[in-house]
């Protein structure tokens, strides 16, 4: 009976909400295409717009509520203190992350410095009159060394991006905590 009403009204609020909660719990990114799994074939031709909208709006709500449950952020008034603690906590985490990011930048600088110093050392050897057959192989070894430093540098840049993404996620969570 409930199914007939659902098909008639095109109300997929419950399915959307449950799917949102489930996806958040499984730590999956948002995927509203799951609507096409939930919808009854009749609703492709009957009340499609309502079915699609009700699923999507409630999917978002379910997903958001899933995040709130996960991070203990509730909107009821008797939990204001808890939410405030969460908000402070996010700020603290963002600070820790910023600090981590600064240290990575420092490491990046240090690695470049190491490379430059080694190059200078080889140049000094050459100007001190080292025979070519000693310097040349060392220069080609230096090229391999330098490309390994490039790899580390690229890796640190990727790590920096990941930290940016984490900061962004924490900022979103902090905004949710503040709005409650």
């Amino acid at each position: 009976m409930a199914d007939i009403f659902k098909i008639y009204s095109g109300d997929y609020s419950k399915e959307g909400y449950d799917q949102g909660i489930e996806d958040r719990k499984a730590n999956e990114p948002k995927n509203k295409f799951k609507f096409f799994k939930a919808v009854h074939p009749i609703n492709y031709i009957w009340a499609f717009n309502n079915a699609f909208d009700s699923f999507n709006k409630n999917y978002d709500k379910g997903y958001l509520d899933g995040q709130r449950v996960e991070h203990n952020i509730y909107s009821s008034s008797n939990q204001t203190k808890g939410a405030s603690v969460q908000k402070d906590n996010y700020e603290n985490h963002i600070r820790m992350l910023n600090n981590f990011q600064e240290k990575l930048l420092e490491l990046k600088r240090k690695i470049q410095e190491i490379r430059e110093q080694y190059k200078k050392q080889i140049d000094v050897m050459e100007s001190a009159g080292f025979v070519e057959n000693i310097i040349e192989p060392l220069r080609s070894k230096y090229q391999i060394f330098s490309s390994k430093i490039d790899d580390i540098d690229r890796q640190l840049a990727q790590h920096d991006q990941k930290i940016e993404m984490q900061t962004e996620a924490l900022n979103t969570l902090r905004a949710i905590a503040r709005s409650n």
Binding site: M96, K103, I144, F145, I152, K162, A169, L170
Partner: protein, 101 residues
């Protein structure tokens, strides 16, 4: 006179080999300290209670970094230090030869 010049040049080269070897050992020490800094920063995040669901990504980053930096340290030992050592042996041999003649 020619022998003296050659002797001086080889002695200089041997000295520079030693300096470069010291430098490479110091460089490996710096790389090791950079890797330790990364690990310490991660430990600091962990000890200060950084979010449990975000921490694994940073732990993975640390593993990647440790792997790359230890590869570089190994490369310096196998390729650069070994090469300088080999050159030092060659130069010392040439020196001994001149001094013995």
């Amino acid at each position: 006179m020619e022998n003296n010049d050659r002797l001086q040049s080889l002695a200089n080269q041997l000295g520079w080999c030693r300096t470069t070897k010291d430098y490479l050992i110091e460089l490996n020490g710096k790389l090791h300290s950079v890797a330790t800094n990364y690990q310490n920063t991660l430990d600091e995040l962990r000890n200060r209670g950084y979010m449990a669901d975000l921490l694994p990504q940073i732990e993975e980053m640390n593993r990647e970094f440790q792997e790359m930096s230890s590869d570089l340290v190994g490369h310096i030992e196998r390729e650069h230090l070994a090469y300088i050592d080999k050159q030092s042996v060659g130069i010392r041999g040439a020196l001994e030869k001149i001094m013995g003649s």
